[in-house]
Amino acid sequence: MATLRTPPIPAVPGPLFPEIAGAPDKFRACLQCGVCSGSCPMGEVMQFPPRKAVKLLLDGGIDQVVASNTPWLCVSCHTCSTRCPSGLLITDGLFPSLRAAVMATGKIPDPDLQKALQNTYLYGNPMGTSPKKRADWAKTAGVPVPIISQLRRPVEVLWIVECTPSFEARGQQISRLLARILTALGIDFAILGHEERCIGDCEWLAGEQGLFEMLIERNIETLKKYRFREILMTDPHSYRTLLNVYPSLGGNYRTKHYVEFLAERLAQLKPMLKKKLNVMATYHDSCCLGRKTSHYEEPRALLKALPGLKLAEMAQNRESALCCGGGGTTTYLDRYIQEQTKDRLADRRVQQAAATGAQILATACPFEPARFEDAVKLTGHEGKLAVRDIIELLAESMELV
């Protein structure tokens, strides 16, 4: 049984070294044990799975890895980094460096990723929507969603909504429901609205260190203007970046993901969960909430509090959970990855969920509903397995839908 360890936190954001061909010292502790390659969900498709990539780095042959399919197949699931006995920064250091080396040639393998990066540079979000529209989702939330610049006073909770939950239809719906839950709990909260910009997780993992640093600088400047006790986040990717990486550039905040925030208030929430759900659910540990920040029990506590809900566990759960395949920019690499393999991680995961007999696959990451719902259709489980964010389940039981 693998030990539940939090993977090492990089002290400096971005790739470990500007020219990965030089200074491989940090990787000299590699034992070549192969736990990384063995754990890697894409290990069989990579031309150079992690162990081989590190070996080539140490032997001066990293150019081969840069030129291969390897840099773009990492889904940033952190399984390798969590289990590496030497604590090497494989996911957060080696892979962004490999990608940065490819990008220096100006060629990005998937036009979706290039567009996402260009959009983030221009508009602060990968969708390419004007930042003025960041808070449009809140117009139909059904409850007031204050924008902190208009409030002109400190707030208890600054809720950083992030890109997918602000601009994508399903994400927007989940945001509206969370706004209602926060209101029902009497939380004093506000959002950044048009001042919000991407926190930068995708950009970092894509190897776009310059863009990542630009975003961090901009976001820290914006946050300096306001007073708040803590930051609430709905996107686990941004959560772990704000939590673990921003401090090294001066951005220190008390940061919580909604699973922790709501679990803290479980005693207050419980009596509000009126409607019985009468359903069996299984919970997917997303990589960022799971392996990267060890929030395994809070989401389960929330689910177990739902009346009538029975919780089943998939065989691969908690630290061994299988990535949905959407993290670390791979959401924008679908086309490239499809050229390399027809085996989709989301399909595999959905099969695992269906095998538990659950009718609901519960998630807590905004990238997942779309990926898993596609997978449900593709694996023939339509009508048998539904995908719901924990917020959606809570809101349903609280009769806020």
């Binding site: 290039q114 260009q118 004007s130």
Partner: protein
């Protein structure tokens, strides 16, 4: 071979456009500018020719707004030289004026190939490429999607788009002006770190020219199309909308 690329900035449509109080121009305060899309392709096409033949690429733009940034990006992508053309103008002029300015700059410089985007979203009085070709008395072909230079760099073989997927291939004796619709590959990406690096060391040339003689276009008024005046908007959940649409089709006997 020497290639000149002419680029300009246009209002970014993503940020929305507002008409100013006078009603004859856009409200410049609300505007954000980006490089004209076809000009970006023209630059990319020039860089591709450079990679294949070793040609040099010189980029020119008029000194208005954030034009300097577009030149920095061009340098970061591999252009040899970039030049800001200063004509003492506060705002970007129409295409005739622009053509006059660039003709003055380019006439003494003997470029083999001059490329620019075939059109831009704010082109009211025609587009730069054709007008410039007229002033320089050079052949012009527009709506180009592929350029191959002939051996000896004396001709260019270009592919020009027509509707319905048809393409004609023409051979042009250089020097010539080409209006690019799309480059043979999408414009390349420049990592932000490289951009920032180039910004620190960038040498941007400057060239002053006489302000243009061409008179400004007398626009009488600008207006937005009536919003939604056309469509009867349907309301409801996605399921309800799908039902309504199917209903409309059935009413009109469009279903089998």
């Amino acid at each position: 071979m020497k290639i000149a690329v002419l680029i300009k900035q246009v209002p970014d449509l993503v940020e929305g456009l507002e008409i100013d109080a006078g009603g004859k121009a856009l409200d410049r305060d609300s505007l954000r500018y980006i490089i004209s899309e076809a000009d970006d392709h023209a630059l990319e096409q020039a860089l591709l020719i450079r990679e294949r033949t070793g040609a040099s690429v010189d980029v020119f733009t008029l000194d208005v707004g954030e034009a300097r940034d577009s030149l920095t990006t061009a340098l970061a992508k591999g252009a040899e030289r970039v030049t800001l053309v200063a004509a003492g103008l506060e705002a970007a002029p129409g295409s005739h004026a622009l053509a006059e300015l660039f003709a003055a700059v380019l006439r003494p410089q003997n470029f083999d190939l001059i490329v620019t985007g075939v059109r831009a979203i704010d082109d009211l009085d025609g587009s730069l490429g054709g007008l410039l070709a007229g002033l320089l008395e050079l052949p012009y072909v527009g709506l180009i999607r592929k350029v191959e230079t002939g051996p000896g760099g004396e001709t260019a073989i270009v592919q020009k788009e027509f509707p319905g997927g048809f393409v004609t291939e023409l051979e042009v004796k250089l020097p010539a002006v080409l209006g690019i619709q799309s480059a043979e590959q999408p414009p390349r990406y420049v990592p932000v770190s490289r951009l920032r690096q180039v910004m620190k060391t960038a040498k941007i040339g400057e060239q002053a020219v006489e302000p243009p003689q061409a008179p400004p276009i007398a626009v009488e008024r600008l207006f937005k199309p009536e919003e939604g005046a056309g469509a009867s908007m349907l309301e409801g959940t996605p399921e309800e909308l799908a039902k309504q649409i199917a209903g409309l089709l059935a009413e009109r006997h469009l279903l089998k």
